[in-house]
Symmetry: C2
Subunit: 227 residues, 2 copies
């Protein structure tokens, strides 16, 4: 995907906190790369919103989601409007006023109409893409889906065109009245970062002792972990 | 809140992966305590779903959300159906088949009709609750909201009654055919945990050098960090 600008529609144009809006494809891709799961929103037939956490993958300008063919999300999402959000939380902002407390984060939101991927080759490819995002390298080693597993799995595709990215970094914002010499030191202000990482792999207890964890497990990127 | 069972309606009754459903209040509270942000889903006037990450707090059986009075989420959420999800991701499951790849997680979903909190005392209390969740202890030290800030902030309340909790822990699930003596060691299987923590506080550059980070900043719980 190029680094050209996103092409947001009115609903994907950030209205609040415009100074935090990023408008290029590279920012979107960076968030999708850093995240591990997304939150999928859809509307039930009776008009209520539902939000579920789920895995994803992307390739080019297409986001892929998958789930059981029996899942409400897949039934409602296929052909319907969905909203997908991926957020990484990077820290808590302590300000001199509670009004300016905040968080540092990177957040991508994609709106659109999801379509069911039904062509077998395209669907298998999408599952490969999703698996590479969750567990990179494992597709070449783990057993692929058999006919029954393949039939049980539904895949949705969502175009990444209608997307918005919002990022906050840095220290606290403050009301100027709280930065006067007599008040600037009245209370501690700053950032408490959130740090993430991959822990030591825990082998399945059934695994023979001579099967060592491969590089794709022990050295997965990013080394600082996803959201 | 007691540890009595949740009282789910059909839409909050977990249909997929029932073995991962937790049905008591204590499980719900544990997820809300461990999380730092939620994902709020609502439906726009033209019927499309929107998902946004946002802070929250809870007290008793009420979840509180806040935002700018001008935010679409607050306008659409007040009086309308919303869905709130809090998810903590605990690890990636590598199985012997890609179909059984998964994640360990703790996830709480709350459905309901959000109401706007307008009584000034109740609204200030809700903001206190939300602030305590984001930055515990800071309410007693940072400046409280002035009239203008208070007017700009909207608060929503959502009852925690209609909720579902789903938790996955442990190692990989497998197809029995992949656990035969000749295949059980065919590929590495296990869990790669995700670890989180609070980093070293970074003071605001304007803060006088003699203002040390207080205990409520340096020793915040949980020490292993939220989601």
């Amino acid at each position: 995907m190029s680094t050209r600008e996103l092409s947001p529609t009115p609903r994907s144009t950030i209205q609040r906190g415009k100074d935090r809006a990023a408008t290029d494809r590279a920012a979107l891709i960076a968030v999708l790369d850093a995240g591990l799961i997304c939150h999928l929103g859809f509307v039930t037939p009776d008009g209520a919103p539902v939000v579920i956490p789920t895995g994803y993958g992307y390739e080019g300008s297409t986001l892929y989601l998958h789930g059981s063919t029996g899942a409400a999300s897949l039934r409602a999402g296929a052909g319907g409007e969905v909203c997908v959000n991926v957020t990484l939380l990077d820290g808590v902002i302590y300000s001199r006023s509670v009004f300016h407390h905040s968080v540092n984060y990177r957040s991508a939101t994609v709106h659109g109409r999801a379509t069911r991927v039904t062509d077998p080759d395209a669907k298998l490819h999408a599952l490969h893409v999703i698996t590479e995002h969750l567990a990179p390298g494992s597709w070449d080693h783990a057993r692929g889906p058999n006919a029954q597993e393949f039939a049980k799995t539904a895949v949705l595709a969502l175009d990444l065109t209608e997307a918005a990215v919002k990022i906050r970094t840095g220290g606290p914002g403050e009301d100027p009245d709280d930065l006067t010499p007599d008040r600037v030191g009245s209370v501690w202000a700053g950032v408490v970062p959130l740090v993430r990482g991959w822990g030591t792999p825990e082998p399945c207890e059934l695994l023979p002792a001579d099967v060592a964890a491969p590089d794709y497990v022990t050295r997965r990127e990013p080394q600082d972990g996803p959201q």
